[in-house]
């Protein structure tokens, strides 16, 4: 269970490749999400390639770090990272959403080794992570539990019930990351201060202050800056066993990041790229013809 270490350049190359796999796989399946998988990509790559203590050849190891994708609709983003990290052959991505596949529209822990929790109904993952962290403490195990949430998702009341419990029990072995991509699926019309074409789910509210009010430590980062991501993950994980309180990383990202026509457009929450769009994206991401989903 070695710590893998990918350089910033390697992560950049992986990110371009992974973003292309997301776009082309979803187009091939004829269904799936785009914006969220692309916005979270740099965070997931940093976790899986540089921080999680995991072993792709032994995905159920007791002492592995846990990862919960609470925003389960962005499954294709996680599948892509798992494939590139060696959990399964990237060729299997072509089965996504086709029926009889381990790669379900939302992650299924009973089907795909490497998925620590089934998700899809938003707002449940933080509770799951709190349970894992409590269990680890009871069993005196030293793994860390990570959970990724969407900024629309944290409108769900259950998230805040879990936030309360995590700090009530002083859990410093759990870290929440919020993908602050500034958009949800539909939301509200944009106002003057919004970054994108619909209203930021938390416009006029201070998410950091809310978490602090619940007794959490808060780290704000640029969710596409490898150095900042790296430092934040290190700090959060380093708090384990000493901080006595949970940490949340608020990662400011761009929904649809990396492909010009999907960036910051709420309609690309999900969608199928046309052949022309695929060609443009492939060029932007610098991917050769041979890479991608071929059926």
């Amino acid at each position: 269970m070695t710590h893998h270490t990918a350089s910033a350049e390697e992560l950049e190359a992986l990110a371009r490749h992974a973003r292309w796999l997301v776009l082309s796989t979803v187009a091939d399946a004829g269904a799936g999400h785009i914006g969220g998988p692309l916005s979270q990509m740099d965070l997931l790559l940093a976790l899986y390639f540089n921080h999680l203590r995991i072993d792709p050849s032994d995905p159920h190891r007791d002492d592995r770090d846990r990862f919960v994708l609470s925003k389960g609709h962005t499954a294709i983003g996680l599948y892509t990272v798992l494939a590139l990290r060696g959990y399964f052959d990237p060729a299997e991505l072509a089965t996504f959403d086709h029926g009889d596949s381990r790669l379900q529209g939302h992650p299924d822990m009973r089907m795909l080794p490497g998925i620590d929790a089934s998700t899809g109904s938003l707002g449940q993952g933080l509770s799951v992570a709190v349970g894992m962290a409590l269990g680890a403490r009871l069993q005196q195990r030293d793994f860390h539990t990570w959970v990724l949430l969407g900024d629309g998702e944290i409108e769900e009341g259950m998230v805040w019930e879990a936030a309360y419990a995590a700090s009530r029990y002083g859990l410093d072995n759990v870290t929440a990351i919020v993908d602050r991509n500034g958009l949800q699926q539909y939301g509200w019309p944009a106002g003057a201060s919004d970054r994108f074409d619909r209203r930021d789910p938390w416009a006029g509210k201070d998410v950091g202050a809310i978490f602090r009010g619940f007794g959490w430590d808060v780290i704000d980062i640029d969710g596409h800056d490898h150095a900042e991501i790296d430092r934040a993950l290190e700090t959060a994980c380093g708090a384990r066993g000493s901080a006595g309180r949970p940490t949340v990383i608020l990662a400011e990202t761009v929904k649809g990041k990396g492909v010009s026509f999907t960036e910051g457009t709420y309609r690309w929450h999900n969608g199928i790229a046309t052949a022309d769009q695929l060609a443009a994206a492939r060029a932007e991401l610098g991917q050769p013809e041979t890479v991608g989903v071929a059926r």
Binding site: A31, G32, S101, E155, Q184, Y186
Partner: protein, 314 residues
């Protein structure tokens, strides 16, 4: 062919122009459910509450106390399952005029898979006292149902399919009453269906005719309240229920209850989803694999028909 969700949205726009009691409360899915049509036409009576289904129900109930008749808009599963407690306490127990739109009902939901499939909505909703439970067969009956709902007092659940099916009824369909309707008479077997599965059953019954089985076909557009005597009177000796729903507690359960309670001699075979979870996949794949396509239904009914009369149903 127009999808039921499209008709639902368009009809609300039309009704909303003259009926300002109609409000729509959305859970960040208006562009999926087609409530976005209403948001564009009547923005002052469209309330986006974000991803918070229990909150949606509470807000809708609060609005109803001031004379509004709110429609809830999200994937049905997040209402009938996740928000069930506020539905039972605030809506069913008070008889509030809240309309629960069960969008993306059943198995077919654009490949989202089992997390989003609502295959128990009819079973759950029909246990709610005072709840009207509607499951129209096609776009035209959907339009009629939404119009009918406008003047209905009390809570209501409306099952809405994501994808279009072949129409069963005419464009100007309006029902005097929502009792079970016979779509075709036949002496060999009685097929009872509900929701858009009725459209697929019309095809299945045609396939049966080609195979020499003369089926009576009954559509149940409203599972509750239900004129049970009327339905019982339409049932032949051998009854097969068909629904895009778990075989437990939905239409099949309802018909079995009616037959058993009357100590009738009919055998009831419930065709629906077996007691298990399904998966993500294209519509045609799912209908075939889980036995609900017209041809799979026809095959399954032929199997039932080949058994001697009196063989217990399943």
């Amino acid at each position: 062919m127009i999808a039921q969700r499209q008709v639902w949205g368009e009809t609300l726009v039309e009704l909303g122009a003259s009926d300002d009691r109609i409000v729509v409360v959305d859970g960040d899915l208006a562009n999926s459910t087609k409530a976005d049509l209403f948001a564009a036409a009547h923005p002052e009576r469209f309330v986006e509450v974000g991803i918070a289904e229990q909150n949606m129900v509470g807000i809708a109930f609060g609005l109803s106390t001031l004379g509004y008749r709110p429609w809830l808009s999200t994937f049905g599963v997040f209402l009938t399952h996740r928000a069930l407690d506020p539905i039972r306490m605030l809506v069913s127990q008070t008889g509030a005029a809240v309309r629960i739109a069960g969008a993306y009902s059943g198995l077919l939901n654009g490949r989202s898979g089992k997390t989003h499939q609502d295959v128990a909505d009819l079973a759950i909703m029909r246990t709610m006292p005072g709840m009207t439970v509607l499951a129209p067969a096609d776009e035209h009956e959907m339009r009629a149902a939404v119009r009918w709902a406008a003047d209905h007092d009390g809570p209501l659940y409306l099952r809405i399919a994501r994808d279009a099916v072949a129409p069963v009824f005419d464009i100007d369909t309006t029902w005097e009453d929502w009792a079970p309707r016979m779509l075709r008479d036949g002496g060999d077997i009685t097929v009872v269906s509900t929701g858009v599965q009725t459209s697929r059953c019309v095809d299945a019954v045609r396939l049966l005719a080609d195979r020499g089985i003369d089926a009576r076909h009954i559509h149940v557009p409203m599972l509750k309240p239900l004129d049970e005597d009327r339905l019982a009177g339409l049932l032949g000796e051998r009854v097969v229920t068909v629904e895009e729903h778990t075989m437990i507690g939905g239409l099949g359960g309802l018909v079995a209850e009616i037959v058993a309670a009357r100590r009738s001699t009919q055998t009831v075979t419930r065709l629906g989803l077996a007691d298990g979870w399904s998966e993500s996949g294209p519509d045609a794949f799912l209908l075939d694999k889980y036995g609900l396509s017209a041809s799979r239904i026809a095959d399954r009914i032929v199997g039932v028909h080949s058994r001697p009369v009196g063989t217990p149903g399943v």
